[in-house]
Amino acid sequence: MQKPINWVDEAVQSLHAAADRADVLGSADVFSSWAAMAGQIGLVASGLDPLAAPTIRRPWASVDDGLTAALEALDRIGPLDGADDLALWEWHVQEIRDLVERLATLP
């Protein structure tokens, strides 16, 4: 029997991958906006599931792709199936994605 997909875990993995990607864009410069963004994304991933470590490397081409994949995974969780504050976490991810979109347009 096929194991049901854990969409929270899917979202967390996508967020960790997006954080990794943002870290790469930060080029190990701790003062880079991308490095700060990587930290923010990592915080949200840990908030969704503090125990889930990044295990699968996702081939997302961009930070935005990773965040979008995370949002799609969160959207698949029914409002009464996940945590009570899932709507709030989804809001955080959407906020970060908006910021990433703006950051990507900066020179």
Binding site: P79, D84, D85
Partner: protein, 310 residues
């Protein structure tokens, strides 16, 4: 005829909250205040009127009571509640001494309960202009308010002997946590889209809701919400003011309105569910819902209005 449950209405509210992010429509001050008042009424109904810390509360019950007590000064007092002079002073921005003096002099109606003064909510209600949101308002924020308001009405219809609708403190805390997380999302959305001059209160509620979500335990879920059903349209028959026959769920608030208003509602509505959202449509003439809303407004019956809004 359709049946819904408090849980389904919470589910609808959650979906609507998640969709807020895609909306760029600004939230006006009246829309925010209606939402704010609806959330407070919902928390009050979940917890049950008059609930105070007793020293023998469970950890979840204690957290729920403290969370409710820390709600930033509500815009309207909770219906059916009574307040001590100190609580009343906080509600209307006065001081305890003045409230006590006015109560003793009879300028404010108060009752003695175990020798202590208790002031009914109606005496402290300075914002009767705040009424329920209407489902005829297509604004996504108002739709969220309507969903939470309707859930509150279903909960109010299932109160056990004037207590809380839910009987398990863990479920009360979990349901409060869910409602407050939706409030946090709504407040953030308002901060994004509202006018700067109107954002004091949304900011206060956003800060409060964030802390409250952290303080409450939401792990238990709330299976009791599934058992709280409501049937649309309410199949009541009105004999005279204040009495409805049959008392199906959801009728209780209709009892408070005039025969004219109740009949106007009965004539007006056909309920249907479209994509998980309750939709009210005219039963006879296009003007019927408008007449019903006008009748309920003139009756100052916000709960009935909210019910009708569903």
């Amino acid at each position: 005829m359709n049946t819904t449950t408090a849980a389904l209405l919470l589910l609808t509210a959650d979906r609507l909250a998640r969709e807020l992010h895609t909306s760029t429509e600004p939230v006006t001050l009246p829309q925010w205040e209606t939402f704010d008042n609806t959330v407070y009424r919902c928390l009050h109904t979940l917890l049950g009127p008059g609930r105070k810390l007793t020293g023998h509360d469970s950890a979840e019950g204690s957290a729920a009571i403290r969370t409710f007590q820390h709600y930033p000064t509500p815009l309207r007092p909770a219906p059916g509640e009574t307040y001590s002079p100190t609580e009343a002073a906080r509600l209307i921005g006065s001081n305890t001494h003045r409230i006590t003096r006015d109560a003793i002099a009879g300028r404010i109606h108060a009752e003695r309960v175990d020798r202590a003064l208790r002031i009914p909510a109606e005496e402290l209600d300075h914002r009767p202009d705040l009424t329920a949101a209407m489902s005829t308002d297509a604004h996504p924020f108002s739709r969220l308010t309507v969903a939470i308001g309707a859930m509150t009405d279903v909960l109010a219809g299932h109160r056990v002997s004037a207590g809380a609708a839910l009987t398990d403190d863990r479920q009360i805390a979990a349901a409060m946590r869910h409602v407050l997380s939706l409030a946090a999302v709504a407040a953030r959305h308002t901060l994004h889209t509202g006018a700067v001059a109107d954002l004091d209160r949304p900011l206060l509620i956003a800060q409060y809701a964030d802390l409250a979500v952290d303080a409450l335990d939401g792990r238990s879920g709330y299976p009791q919400l599934w058992t709280m059903t409501s049937t649309n349209p309410p199949a009541w028959s009105v004999s005279n003011r204040g009495s409805a026959v049959g008392r199906p769920a959801g009728v209780r608030m209709i009892e408070a309105v005039s025969v004219r208003a109740a009949n106007a509602v009965r004539d007006a509505v056909t309920y249907s569910w479209v994509g998980g959202m309750p939709v009210v449509s005219p039963a006879h003439a296009r003007s019927a819902p408008r007449r019903a809303v006008a009748a309920l407004r003139s009756d100052s019956a916000p709960e009935a209005l909210c019910w009708f809004s569903m």
